[in-house]
């Protein structure tokens, strides 16, 4: 892994002009070769000259004009970095890839690193950020560089709003003259041309960003001997901003024309600070110019800061009978509380002695500042003067044309200039009446002949439409339209309300309508949704009742009437699950393939099962549904189907004994309702699975098909099924590439071709943060995605505060053979053992089996690899944790084995790279406190906390977590509950999800069943440990531990 770091380093200089530069460096966990010596404090884990050159060219796409040129531009800098025992500790990001603990105490020591000096900082950082966002598997940006990327974008925004001015800097110089006998102090000065940021946003940004700036940003040094420390954040940020502004303005190519226009002025000196000036003006002249500039600048800032109010303008529309009487009212709003408004009409109406009191909330020198504010505003919008030929200005009258111009332009300008503007509701984006072409739609069946009688929409529905003209949602006849087009005024009263006319657009729409009005056209439902989301500005719809119903249902997913529990369901659905099933069925009926993206723990599996049962109530002879899921959840699928819908005939297509003959497979499929298989087999048995027509394909954990070019994805895309469902618990709409790929499976073509999607959505959204594009995309996909989060009000009501779920995982073949060997061994010994020896044997057997169920490595204790391939429990935990973190949530993971705790920490931190804490019996108090504080801190990213059941059982408050995982079981419910309560405590505002992992077909499953039974009968006294198991007779115990072979998965 490579972490790209970088920061701004000012020059070491006490000169009046102190420049700086931006340097990148790369930290790595795999340094190439040992550094020769540590004598000069070379950072041991960074890319040195050659490696850095290669990295820059290969990963970041830098090019060099002359081969070898890049390497020569690199230089060495020093960074004050946290250092423990003579070594720099890895950065926070790299720590997750390394086998090291985060240090609690450390020194800051300068380390030498090779750096690349970044030209064109804003562009370069944005490019690197973009590359890292998309490509990177083996590199990412450090928080320090992310900070600078974001801050440089903020600065760019300020500069593009023209919020900076030419400036002069007055430098006092005191020189000592040696002429004459006595040394004399001479006070002199120099005036330097410069640029200055003058913006409230800038000042606010400084404060905001200083609070978030990582210390690493302040750690740059030019030489190691610099004994001084980190930079003060604010001064560093200002230095950076000012240097950047200077670089941008003076680095802009200007035209000869501008050069001439600014010749011999202050501006010329500011634009070209390095060009010699032929005629140097006298000191007095320079000082005079400086003072003139200073007065100007003071006035500029005064108009921002001095008044205690914001000036507001409110436009009141004219009545239809008096169309040139639009009133622009003047108001003030208090700066400290903008909701506190005072109209000048009211103010001047007061008795003079009451005015002082009334004006108090609006700051000192109210009347003077008021006049000045009006005057400054009038400089931008001179019409204001019309209202000021009085001693009590309250507003001014606008004609219709003036009002139109005001709405169209001046209002924006005034509000950009910092004044508040209130316009009539019909002018606001929501209230505006627009002229549009209207599509009148109705539903037809695909056969084309007749409209469906009941207005039922189905998979084959075709929508026919015709064009109409419309204004503000009302149909308008051609005559009326032409009348409007021919009106001579920009604002018209139309059916009792003012509206703006855009004559050019109306003319175009009219022509369009005239050519198309007699066409009867058709489109599919998908097309309609697509056009509707993309061309909102010029189109509006007049849907017939059935379509209108459909759209409103699609957009208000919560309004779905819950289905009745399927009769064959062994259990009951929660209310939101019933609505979820109704939604799934509805979309499938429309031929819109849905993506169910409910939060983890809300029961997507059960919703799908209910859906399968429900459709069988309605129709006979349905074909089989293929469910593709990660191997680790296949067991759980089977278990849930067995438990809730034993009636569904289920075939698990998995393992070496699976059907491979085409005909046999097809026959078997026809005899089942559900075929379960894994992603790996979806690819391996591609031909087999493509051999028949499925009723439906369900892809669980749909993020597995996020890569459209992977063989696995391509194989799944080729499956023949009209109905497709994707399930995922990650917020899929935030990852654009995944989103496209999932939609490509569900509704091919809906989001366009991949390249087109990148160009239209991904690049503008990621690279320029294009809000309009992301809104459009959101509208496009919204009808197809049902994502309910645990915190939804409606869901919360349906959920208990604590939701317990069991996660059944199958054994891998390796686990199964180990398990069987232990069982076989025990069975032989058990018959001979007595008393204490027997007890010991039973307990040690249980321990061994538990270890095997967790992971073979734990049982073998041979230091073999702790990989997810060897344990489905671990694999499943990894998948679920990913969803937790992706949803921005935190989790606790309990285990009773320290060796598993340690292995999990390594696995989650170093292989999966999550922010992970691990508390066990050996953790000292100080570290323990620090971990808890860190974990609970709202500023800490979503994190994981691994606890050993014994060390973490009591006394801790870890309410940031709303997921609790029990990786292995403690056969005493109260001990588990106590642990669970770390998260489920006072202060917990969220529902807590408890996931208990169980290995299927093993004693874990059976003991769990026993406990559940006993709990129901409330007759079993379960001790705090597992000794009660030793009371079982031999046969019962043998049965208990026997492995159900069918529960093993490969």
């Amino acid at each position: 892994m490579h972490i790209i770091h970088g920061t701004w380093i000012p020059e070491d200089s006490n000169e009046f002009i102190q420049r700086g530069a931006f340097y990148l460096w790369v930290e790595t966990d795999t340094p190439a070769g040992r550094s020769r010596s540590n004598s000069n404090n070379v950072h041991p884990r960074h890319l040195a000259q050659t490696a850095l050159t290669t990295f820059l060219m290969e990963k970041l796409g830098l090019r060099e004009l002359i081969s070898g040129a890049l390497a020569h531009t690199l230089c060495t800098k020093y960074f004050l970095l946290p250092t423990v025992a003579g070594k720099p500790s890895p950065s926070f990001e790299l720590l997750r890839y390394m086998d090291e603990e985060e240090p609690i105490e450390f020194d800051l020591v300068p380390w030498q690193v090779w750096c690349y000096q970044v030209p064109d900082i804003i562009t370069a950082l944005n490019d690197i950020h973009f590359i890292a966002l998309n490509a990177a598997e083996d590199f990412q940006l450090g928080a320090d560089l992310l900070f600078w990327h974001q801050y440089s974008q903020a600065i760019k925004n300020i500069i593009s709003k023209d919020q900076y001015i030419p400036a002069l800097k007055y430098q006092a110089i005191s020189t000592t003259s040696n002429k004459g006998k006595k040394a004399k102090q001479i006070l002199n000065f120099e005036i330097h041309p410069a640029w200055e940021l003058l913006s409230e946003t800038y000042e606010n940004n400084i404060q905001r960003y200083v609070a978030t700036m990582p210390g690493a940003c302040t750690a740059g040094l030019n030489s190691p001997h610099d004994s001084s420390g980190l930079f003060d954040k604010e001064s560093l940020l200002r230095h950076f901003s000012e240097c950047l502004l200077h670089e941008i303005v003076t680095g802009t190519p200007f035209t000869q024309k501008i050069d001439q226009q600014i010749a011999d002025t202050l501006l010329y000196a500011c634009v070209y600070p390095y060009r010699p000036i032929l005629m140097r003006p006298s000191s007095e002249k320079k000082l005079e110019e400086y003072k003139q500039w200073l007065t100007w600048r003071t006035n500029l800032t005064k108009s921002h800061t001095e008044a205690g109010f914001t000036l507001c303008f409110r436009l009141e529309e004219a009545s239809p009978s008096d169309i040139n009487n639009w009133q622009l009212h003047f108001l003030v709003a208090a700066k400290h509380d903008p909701s506190l408004k005072l109209s000048l009409e009211e103010y001047w109406g007061l008795h003079p002695r009451d005015r002082v009191e009334t004006a108090r909330p609006f700051g000192k020198d109210f009347e003077k500042n008021l006049l000045l504010a009006l005057g400054y505003a009038a400089r931008i919008y001179p019409t204001i003067w019309n209202g000021m030929a009085t001693d009590h200005p309250t507003g001014c009258i606008l004609t219709m044309y003036e009002a139109f111009e005001f709405l169209k332009e001046s209002a924006w300008v005034l509000s950009d200039a910092g004044y508040a503007v209130i316009v009539p509701a019909w002018w606001t984006p929501d209230g505006r009446r627009r002229t549009k072409v209207r599509l009148k739609t109705s539903v037809r069946s695909s056969k084309g002949a007749t409209t469906l009688s009941q207005g039922h929409l189905s998979l084959n529905s075709i929508i026919s439409y015709e064009y109409q003209l419309s204004v503000g949602g009302q149909v308008v006849s051609e005559e009326e339209w032409e009348q409007l087009v021919n009106a001579k005024t920009p604002l018209v009263q139309f059916r009792g309300q003012w509206m703006e006319l855009d004559r050019d657009k109306m003319q175009q729409l009219l022509q369009f309508w005239q050519t198309h009005q007699h066409e009867k056209s058709e489109m599919t439902l998908l097309d309609m949704l697509k056009i509707g989301s993309e061309a909102e500005d010029d189109l509006e719809w007049d849907h017939d009742q059935s379509l209108r119903d459909m759209l409103s249902r699609l957009h208000d997913k919560n309004a779905f009437a819950p289905i009745k529990d399927p009769e064959a369901l062994q259990g009951t659905l929660r209310d939101y699950q019933k609505r979820g099933v109704a939604w799934l069925q509805y979309l499938e009926k429309l031929g819109l393939n849905p993506c169910l993206a409910d939060d983890m723990g809300l029961g997507k599996t059960l919703e799908v099962i209910a859906c399968l049962l429900k459709e069988r109530e309605e129709e006979d002879g349905l074909g089989p549904t293929l469910i593709i899921a990660p191997t680790s959840v296949l067991g759980n699928w089977r278990k849930e189907i067995e438990r809730f819908a034993p009636e569904l005939r289920t075939l698990v297509h998995q393992g070496s004994t699976r059907l491979k003959d085409k005909q046999k497979f097809m026959d078997a499929c026809q005899a089942h309702d559900v075929i379960l298989t894994s992603f790996a087999l979806a690819r391996l048995d591609e031909k087999l699975l493509q051999g028949l027509k499925w009723h439906r394909v369900v892809v669980d954990e749909a993020q597995n098909i996020k890569n459209p070019h992977a063989a696995q994805t391509r194989a799944i895309l080729k499956l023949d099924a009209p109905l497709r469902v994707a399930l995922t618990g990650t917020p899929v709409e935030n990852r654009l590439r995944d989103l496209w790929s999932i939609f490509n499976f569900l509704n091919p073509g809906y989001l366009g071709k991949e390249a087109q999607f990148r160009k239209e959505f991904e690049t503008p959204i990621y690279k320029s943060n294009d809000l309009a594009r992301s809104t459009t995309l959101k509208k496009l996909v919204e009808p197809f995605i049902l994502r309910r989060v645990k915190t939804d009000k409606r869901i919360i009501d349906d959920l208990p505060d604590k939701i317990e779920q069991k996660m059944y995982c199958t054994l891998t073949p390796e686990q199964a053979s180990l398990y069987e060997a232990v069982v076989k061994d025990v069975e032989e010994q058990l018959n001979e053992a007595e008393g204490i020896q027997r007890k010991g044997l039973i307990l040690s057997t249980i321990l061994k089996l538990k270890q095997i169920c967790n992971h073979p490595m734990q049982f073998l204790q041979d230091g073999s690899a702790f990989t997810s391939e060897r344990s489905h429990k671990l694999e499943r935990l990894g998948e679920m944790i990913e969803e937790v973190i992706e949803s921005g949530e935190s989790a606790l993971i309990f285990t009773q084995f320290t060796e598993i705790g340690g292995a999990l920490e390594k696995y989650l931190e170093h292989t999966k790279h999550y922010n992970t804490y691990y508390l066990h019996g050996g953790t000292n108090v100080k570290r323990r406190e620090r971990m808890i504080v860190d974990f609970q801190d709202p500023e800490t990213e979503p994190s994981l906390f691994i606890l050993s059941l014994r060390a973490g059982g009591v006394g801790l408050n870890l309410t940031k977590a709303n997921h609790v995982f029990h990786f292995d079981r403690w056969w005493n419910p109260s001990v588990e509950d106590q642990a669970t309560d770390r998260a489920f405590r006072i202060g917990q505002r969220k529902n807590v999800f408890v996931h208990k992992f169980l290995a299927m077909g093993t004693m874990e499953e059976r003991i769990d069943a026993m406990i559940e039974d006993k709990k129901r009968l409330s007759s079993l006294v379960v001790g705090t440990d597992e000794s009660w198991l030793t009371e079982l007779d031999n046969n019962t115990f043998k049965e208990l531990i026997a492995l159900r072979r069918s529960a093993v998965m490969e």
Binding site: G229, I258, D934
Partner: protein, 280 residues
């Protein structure tokens, strides 16, 4: 060559003189004004007196560079009338506001016309001028030169016009304080002072190094104490360019060109926005 005035009132002031003075003398007057030949001038009680360096001219028997005494008086308005005029001005927010912003209101004459008066001179009858030079014509080039200088002084100080019409600053102040709006202007005039020089010790804000102390945790050192604010959407073009500087009006005092400062800045800002490679 530069104009002597870029404000409407300064130009109106000049126009009044140009109406009754011949072109040749005006031309020479302009070069007198711009070549520093007017050594000093003072204004007292509505009369401007100046010393002007003349030129050697054997034809007139002038063999050594002469210094001429020149004076210009503009017909004064009586103090009674001034009181009425100021009352008028102080009853109108627009006039007071513009004066507050150091601008002569373009509707200022409305406060005078009711009394059959006017502020800016517009004919020969408004002037009394004299010069010690041998030129028979009045106004001569020396008078014209002084006059041009007056016009450019008016640009930055519209209140000078009141003074030229016989209302001293003190009287102006007293009259203004008689009405509420006037008081505002009076207090602003009172506090009008030259800004103090703001010396800086560095061109860019000086980055300060702090002593090495480790207060932050390891995590804070690398990632910061708080999370980054969520990224802001990029702004496209501003709705109106150069809004910030527009509030201070055109032709700031340091800008000596005839071309509009605002329009030059607009172009400059636009180049930065569109032609700089980092801003794209």
């Amino acid at each position: 060559m530069a104009q002597f005035s870029r404000t409407w009132w300064g130009q109106r002031f000049i126009a009044a003189l140009e109406e009754f003075t011949d072109e040749a003398r005006l031309g020479r007057g302009r070069s007198y004004a711009s070549n520093g030949r007017i050594i000093e001038y003072t204004l007292s009680k509505g009369t401007v007196t100046a010393k002007v360096r003349g030129s050697i001219n054997p034809y007139f028997g002038v063999y050594k560079e002469p210094i001429y005494k020149t004076s210009i008086t503009i017909k004064a308005i009586t103090s009674d009338d001034w009181a009425k005029v100021i009352r008028q001005i102080a009853s109108r927010a627009d006039l007071i506001t513009k004066l507050l912003m150091n601008e002569m209101p373009d509707t200022i004459e409305e406060a005078f016309s009711g009394l059959s008066l006017h502020l800016l001179p517009h004919s020969e009858r408004d002037f009394e001028t004299s010069c010690s030079c041998p030129d028979w014509a009045n106004p001569c080039k020396h008078i014209a030169g002084v006059y041009y200088l007056l016009a450019s002084a008016l640009d930055n100080d519209p209140f000078l016009m009141f003074e030229l019409r016989g209302l001293s600053r003190d009287d102006l102040y007293t009259e203004l304080t008689r009405s509420p709006l006037g008081k505002i202007l009076a207090s602003a005039l009172d506090s009008d002072e030259e800004p103090l020089v703001e010396p800086v010790t560095s061109y860019y804000s000086r980055p300060i190094r702090e002593q090495v102390t480790v207060e932050a945790t390891h995590k804070e050192f690398w990632t910061g104490a708080k999370r980054l604010p969520s990224p802001i959407a990029n702004v496209s073009q501003p709705s109106v360019p150069a809004l910030l500087i527009k509030k201070q009006g055109d032709y700031p005092p340091f800008w000596h060109k005839d071309l509009s400062f605002i329009s030059v800045m607009e172009e400059l800002y636009e180049r930065v926005r569109t032609k700089n490679k980092q801003m794209k």
